[in-house]
Amino acid sequence: MESIIEVQRLTKQFGHITAVDNLSFEVPKGSIFGFLGQNGAGKSTTIRMLMSLITPTSGEIQFFGMPLQEKRKLILKKIGAIIEKPDMYGYLSAYDNLKMFARLNGLNLTQSQLIHHLEQVGLAHRADNKVKTFSQGMKQRLGLAIALMHNPSLIVLDEPTNGLDPQGIADIRQLIMQLNTERQITIFLSSHLLSEIEQIATHILIIDKGKKVIADSAKALFNPADTIVEINTNNNNNALTHLQNSQWQHNLQQNRGPNIFLKMHYNQIPELNKFLFEHNIQLLLLQPRHSLEDYFLQVTSNIQ
């Protein structure tokens, strides 16, 4: 599959601190690429290097098969981005902000075209209002309008749902999926929340302390054969004894606390439930998790 972004051995050091460490990955064309990691894992530094806001200490970045360093302007013409907060010129109106960035992108848009772009993100009725009066969600939507108005092939979104209410988060999620499916735009999406990424990403990369932890297609990572099931019962010791003396003994995972963990295929869950019922064990909790979530939690709990 053709790659939109190719990153090779990317490293960034701030003095003695290595924020990004020998990171390599590829973003396939047409994908929704989820870029995951805890706060401070090196996501923003990586994205800033991708957007040429930070100079890498070493490594190579290519977009559309072109080296970023040499073809920066040409590459940025094909990219829309919101890096962290969507900060705009607060003393200008939404319309003026949009018009200004359109001109910087070499677009000579008419008034109706600009209003149309604001309509797409639901801000046409606030076109003449100064951005300093906008909520975080409205700024986020204006940022999206700016990122989208030049019909980019790739959109880079760094923590796009930060500071949004649940409805705002749902709207952004829907918009991302719509852009990907209807306009075939590749999306590079960073987040520190797996729950935010797993619902929409086709590919996932997890980094920790600047290093790649795991990278694969979502389909491979969310393999139902690797489901982890966490159970809690009215008597965990008794339940554990029964499980150890049964066909489930090979599914048992290392003890990670008061609850019991088993690794199995997702389809085996009813069978496990039946087994516990037949041995008169009352279930208080039965929670399936795929391996990625388990892995992500392990990584994050190690950090904490």
Partner: protein, 291 residues
């Protein structure tokens, strides 16, 4: 590049802060003109006190040209503070509100951004001086009329014929523009290294004050370094108001006594501007945007 410049000018003139300098200059010039209108004769008499015993002055001594000269002497020292308000905010202000991030993800090069921003600051400086010229020169000419300009130098008096003054003001304002652009370039350079506006604005003003004091102190050790300080050369606009005399000690209209000094000072100021902006471009190209 032209688009970028238009965008930068649009941003400057959409901000209320920009107009503080225009209002401040109008207020200061208005106060000086009002004071001189009400009690100007007493002021002139006080200034000319020690020469009035040797000379008899006829005509309109307190004319628009003299008023403009007084205003320039008083104000040109303080205009750098107003210029620093905008120039030292050009990059750091955007870093502070986070828009620098958005600006640098647009398909424009960092060098283009720096040049457009400096040109926008230069145009702002030019407009500020044009505004000052309108108020200080043209309004004063209208309020006080015109006549010969008599200026007291340290050791002698200069009398410039009324027909020989106006072009000197054009030259003086042109030179003042160069001096103020040097200040703008310094403020601009400092704004590259900061992520908020206050630091570079205060630093620019502090450097100007510090160097101005060094430039005017008559202590031998400081006098050795004075030719290398740009603040020493910022006052060379006064050279436009001195003229050559012939063998009979009669003034030669249309001449400048020390043209070489003006050229040399202008060269040094231009060199400072080039160095400041060159360093700013170099530093900005390597700057990691972390805000």
């Amino acid at each position: 590049m032209l688009t970028l410049l238009q965008v930068e000018l649009y941003k400057i003139f959409k901000r209320p802060r920009t107009y503080i300098a225009f209002i401040a200059i109008a207020a200061l010039i208005g106060i000086i003109q009002l004071g001189l209108k009400l009690d100007g004769d007493a002021y002139v008499s006080f200034v000319m006190n020690n020469v009035e015993q040797s000379f008899v002055f006829q005509g309109n001594l307190l004319n628009g040209y003299l008023v403009c000269y007084i205003i320039l002497q008083l104000l040109l020292v303080h205009v750098p503070l107003l210029i620093a308000l905008v120039a030292a905010d050009m990059v750091s202000g955007e870093a502070n509100i986070g828009t620098l991030r958005l600006l640098l993800t647009q398909p424009v090069s960092r060098n283009e951004i720096i040049l457009a921003k400096f040109l926008a600051a230069a145009i702002y400086t030019l407009l500020l001086l044009v505004w000052m010229a309108i108020l200080a020169l043209f309004v004063s000419m209208w309020l006080f009329g015109t006549d010969d300009l008599i200026i007291q130098k340290t050791r002698y008096l200069v009398q410039l014929s009324r027909n020989d003054v106006f072009w000197r003001y054009i030259g003086a304002f042109g030179f003042a523009l160069l001096a103020m652009l040097t200040v703008a370039a310094l403020g601009f350079l400092l704004s590259i290294f900061a992520d908020n506006s206050i630091g570079p604005i205060v630093a620019t003003i502090s450097i100007i004050i510090f160097l101005t004091i060094l430039s005017t102190m008559s202590i031998p050790i400081f006098q050795k370094i004075q030719p290398y300080l740009f603040t020493t050369h910022m006052v060379a606009w006064k050279e436009f108001f001195d003229l050559k005399v012939n063998a009979d000690n009669a003034a030669i209209n249309g001449t400048i006594q020390n043209k070489q000094q003006i050229i040399q000072s202008a060269g040094i100021l231009i060199l400072h501007i080039v160095v400041f902006i060159g360093v700013a471009m170099y530093a900005f190209k390597r700057k990691d945007i972390l805000t």
